[in-house]
Symmetry: C2
Subunit: 295 residues, 2 copies
Amino acid sequence: MGFAGRLWDAIAAKKSPAMVGLDPRPDHFPEPFRSAAQAGPVEAAEAMVDYHRELLDVLAKKIAVVKPQTAFFEQFGPAGFRALSDAVDSAKERGLLVVMDAKRGDIGSTSAAYAQAFLGGGAYGAFPAADALTVNPYLGKDACQPFLEMAKKQDAGLFFLVKTSNPGAGLFQDHGQPPLADVIAAAVHEWGKETVDESGWSSLGAVVGATRPEELAHFRALMPQTPLLLPGFGHQGGTADGLSPAFHDGKGAIVNSSRDVLWAHERDDLAHLPDWQARVDCALDEMIAALGPLV
Amino acid sequence: MGFAGRLWDAIAAKKSPAMVGLDPRPDHFPEPFRSAAQAGPVEAAEAMVDYHRELLDVLAKKIAVVKPQTAFFEQFGPAGFRALSDAVDSAKERGLLVVMDAKRGDIGSTSAAYAQAFLGGGAYGAFPAADALTVNPYLGKDACQPFLEMAKKQDAGLFFLVKTSNPGAGLFQDHGQPPLADVIAAAVHEWGKETVDESGWSSLGAVVGATRPEELAHFRALMPQTPLLLPGFGHQGGTADGLSPAFHDGKGAIVNSSRDVLWAHERDDLAHLPDWQARVDCALDEMIAALGPLV
């Protein structure tokens, strides 16, 4: 069973394609983690570790996949990178799949180092292996090759940036005729053919913003066997309406929300709930219900 | 004085546009660091710290700029990230300018976190600020905006990927008419106009492979005030011949070599020199001599 098959099984078990991003911002941690984080970068990273362990306890009961965002950890320096390592370990211990959202991409020898870092277990086992990695394909296929090889070796997934969720994504991604994003989509489909597993899906996925429902059917047609990672659900404006072209028979995509779930404890309308976990759980239920018709 | 002016002053003081990449691969460390690194990731990171301090002593005597490559540090997990932090501190203590080669790029809120991580001193001062950062512009201007703002605030530089040094760079970078790389070059030139300092150059730079001398005059014409970072000199095939269109009056570009300098201790023809430092120093002299006519 390849990455895609494992992904669909995990989603089926949880009856939801919902994924939550781990974008740790200590100013938005619930208490006592928020206060504990104020003392400095090491204390912030320690609070991050403690918070994520408790958060992952809540998430693991309801969803199948989490997406740590490397930037928010790297801000906190070496201690932040240690907190990232712990988050991956903690997520895996709880049975969650981990999509490392690092958006890396470089010339071949450097891409090989990134592939080793995030999918290969690090050099000398220095870092826990994620189940999948986001990759920026701008440098071309030769530069992506080490990611393709590592994914094959580790039976891991990749999600190539095709059309991102930010408002100005089209500036370069829509350049040319056909638009660059279409050319990259066709390439991802082609590269992925040899990785199609018994589920009928490739282990090479693509990122297409959940903020672009009008384009989903188009990209699905260009990439019929490609798992889609749809970021931007909720806070960035994406809604469940219109995501259906990404899905077929309950499979086909994972849908990410970060702030709407992570910051649920700040919602006035959930203030009656006993603790931050209950509020996160409630926001998760809302997201799962909204996405329910898709799977 | 902006980043560009500081860069040209530093290059003038050393009479060379040579830059060396810090791409730490323990298998290619000189002894005793190579053996010390074999024991595990923490030991490898400690050997990396010790090696870089001694290496930077040699580099700081001859060149003005170093370019740590984040991938090779991140492979070693949290300890590797600590070694990266130490390399930046050590380089700055020795008066070197630091171009962090991280090639980051993400949606705005995440780019802001990367900008804080590498140019802003990290969250709560968790990481030493580099002088400049390489950025992948694929996500568009809104996604690059936090990098632009942080560079302005910190008086730092940015180098946007325009045409990379790998053989297959053209696959997506040449897409469309005009080619995407030209469109991005024009954008970088435009975005940089307001950052031009008294040296007449922008603090927004561009990466164009030193392996592409035939294209340099073209990109220089599209970006007349843009500092160019030319990677791939030496091992990747780039030579000093043909880099002259990037330069004007001794200014205009920095030229990177990594392996040709870092691995000089492995050269049989330098085996007569007393230690690895002398061999690195000799390779540096060769690079500086080759680039001499440019400045």
